[in-house]
């Protein structure tokens, strides 16, 4: 495992703060995923080893929590909220606009690896729907036209990746 020194430092600081070592499992998954972009088999085994757990203890949480990934995303990770308040504000049409621009169905990564387009559930900003996340950045009130503009910029590499 080739983790950045600052990731290792964060991990070493975090683990002893918890009453039990196992409590650090989910935070470590986050930290390693942020470092590597996703959680490979090797990464999961490394986390298990670091916490004195079995690999299955990590695999079972990675497969439970939607935000943890076992595969890398495209260069851009676009998440469109589809829950009722966003849907009432037009989120499905927003998503269709992204699909058209990227030439890729929701739930997939475009063939050129540029973008992963996903539906997600409520992001707790329902007054400003449709809500879209690009990487870790949130964008609100995204109608189909704004989505198309965002997509064009992403295709040209001119949009922040939100990492």
């Amino acid at each position: 495992m080739n983790l950045k020194p600052e990731t290792i430092e964060k991990i070493d600081k975090l683990v002893p703060r918890y009453p039990t070592v196992r409590s650090a499992a989910l935070p470590l998954c986050h930290l390693v995923q942020e470092d590597q972009g996703y959680l490979s088999q090797e990464a999961m085994e490394w986390i298990a080893e670091r916490l004195g757990l079995q690999p299955i203890n990590i695999i079972e949480i990675v497969t439970f929590y939607p935000m943890l990934r076992t595969e890398p995303t495209g260069e851009y990770h676009v998440r469109v909220c589809r829950t009722l308040p966003c849907a009432l504000a037009g989120a499905y049409q927003t998503c269709k606009s992204f699909e058209k621009e990227f030439g890729c169905k929701v739930g997939h990564t475009s063939e050129d690896g540029k973008v992963t387009l996903e539906f997600v559930e409520c992001h707790a900003d329902c007054g400003k729907g449709p809500v879209v996340m690009v990487g870790e950045d949130e964008y609100t009130d995204i109608d189909p036209e704004k989505a198309a503009e965002m997509a064009t910029k992403m295709k040209n590499g001119e949009f922040p990746k939100g990492l």
Partner: protein
């Protein structure tokens, strides 16, 4: 005239020039209540919270003071405080504002609560999607530590307590308090069975634990400031303090609005506060307390008796926004998420959308929930895909009836109530959907309509 907001928790939210750093907070009187709290007897703070009557703002509306009383103090085990910042109930977006714009209010409220229950350690369980909120909280905690508002020997009181911010990772069930605790301990968020696992007795690490919502914990700070009796003067008996209503859906001005309990009716909230509906539209339905709450139909009459015996006869617009009134009309104030739907809304599609959510979020431990909730999703999806059957409404109701009350956690109800209430109130539309499709099929037309909500 539009009713006046009472901004207690949201006093500084969206205020010009108000920033989320500790200097701004302190300049505005911040941490004065913590200074006062650490000079009080912990049990006196608990008594004030009980007197205040404050009810939990996370969903169930259980009185916080009562919950604190249930803490098992005899066991001698350490006590933990957990702030539930999972904010995962669809339609709810109030805790986000506190975390982003006024994080120190939450930290002060938490430290007051932690001192009152003599917690050894406190956690904020924040949903994973709040990337920025997480960073803001981490920074705010470091600022508070530097000023000795948390950490060792807080303000020279001899009491020590730290806060750990723990991030979730996209699972709604982590909002359920025992699922949250499992997640905190490093497991899948499979809720625990109650009894015996009431957190106040057997919570995090099998130790007594108090789990409270972000807004509830902020209220604690104001209870110390006003005293329990002072706080109880806001609102009405049994419905004390303010509530933050998060309004989304088909209104002109969606957003968050804080009112004293009962100070605003649903009609005032929609028409006066949120600017009403789009031109030419009519109100069709409202889900008043997050997507799990039972839907209210715009043309219903609500009659019955309140807890105190007074009779009521309300139209949807007359319902006072508080815990007991919304309960009396057969729904709940839940997490304060008010989802408004106008007459362009296709109710079958709306339910299909909701069912998709719950099918995605079931933890899978209980058979009725694991099997039944995706089944309900399949039925509503089939209906919008052009294969609706007239008997589907009854089928949906029958599945929901077999889930509610038969599961480990209240997710079973949360997933069933929308289905039960949509069918109870809009059955005609579900039957009509099948009839329309049959007619189109006969005419040789495209059977399924283009959908907008699913």
């Amino acid at each position: 005239m539009a009713p006046q907001e009472t901004r207690l928790i949201f006093k500084h939210i969206d205020e010009e020039g108000y920033t989320n750093d500790i200097d701004c907070y302190v300049k505005n009187g911040g941490y004065e209540q913590l200074k006062k709290a650490v000079t009080m007897k912990p049990e006196d703070i608990c008594a004030e919270v009980l007197t205040s009557g404050v009810r939990g703002r996370g969903g169930a509306g259980f009185p916080a003071g009562m919950k604190w009383k249930f803490l098992d103090r005899k066991s001698g085990k350490p006590i933990y405080l957990v702030c539930n910042a999972d904010e995962s109930e669809p339609g709810t977006f109030k805790d986000r504002q506190i975390i982003h714009q006024d994080p120190h209010q939450l930290i002060e409220g938490m430290m007051c609560a932690a001192f009152a229950i003599q917690a050894k350690l406190a956690f904020i369980y924040i949903r994973g999607e709040f990337f920025q909120g997480y960073k803001i909280l981490e920074r705010a905690i470091e600022e508070a530590r530097e000023k000795n508002f948390l950490g060792d020997n807080i303000l020279g009181s001899g009491y020590s307590c730290d806060i750990i911010v723990h991030r979730g990772a996209g699972a709604y069930i982590c909002g359920e308090e025992t699922g949250l605790i499992e997640s905190l301990e490093g497991f899948r968020a499979n809720p625990r069975i109650k009894p015996p696992y009431f957190p106040a007795a057997l919570g995090a690490y099998q130790c007594p634990t108090i789990v409270n919502n972000v807004e509830t914990l902020c209220d604690v700070k104001h209870i110390i400031e006003m005293g329990g009796e002072g706080f109880a003067k806001i609102g009405t008996p049994g419905n004390t303090g303010t509530r933050i209503w998060c309004v989304s859906g088909h209104v002109q001005k969606p957003g968050y609005y804080e009112f004293a309990c009962s100070d605003v009716t649903l009609g005032q909230l929609i028409y006066d506060v949120c600017g009403g509906l789009k031109p030419g539209r009519k109100l069709k339905a409202v889900i008043p307390g997050g997507s799990s709450a039972k839907i209210l139909r715009a043309d219903e009459r609500f009659t019955g008796k309140l807890k105190d015996g007074t009779e009521f006869d309300w139209g949807i617009e007359d319902i006072p926004m508080d815990f007991d009134s919304l309960m009396a009309v057969g729904s709940m104030s839940g997490s304060g998420g008010v989802i408004v739907m106008d007459d362009t809304t296709d109710m079958v599609e709306a339910l299909a959308n909701i069912n998709y959510f719950y099918a995605h979020e079931s933890c899978g431990q209980c058979t009725p929930c694991r099997e039944g909730v995706p089944w309900m999703r399949k039925v509503t999806q089939r209906m919008v895909d052009g294969e609706a059957r007239e008997e589907d409404a009854d089928l949906l109701k029958s599945i929901a009836d077999q889930i509610a009350g038969r599961t480990i956690c209240a997710f079973g109800e949360a997933a069933s109530w929308p289905v039960q209430s949509f069918i109870a109130k809009f059955k005609d539309e579900f039957v009509e959907k099948a009839k329309e499709q049959a007619a189109r099929r006969k005419e040789g037309q495209e059977v399924a309509k283009e959908t907008t909500l699913i």
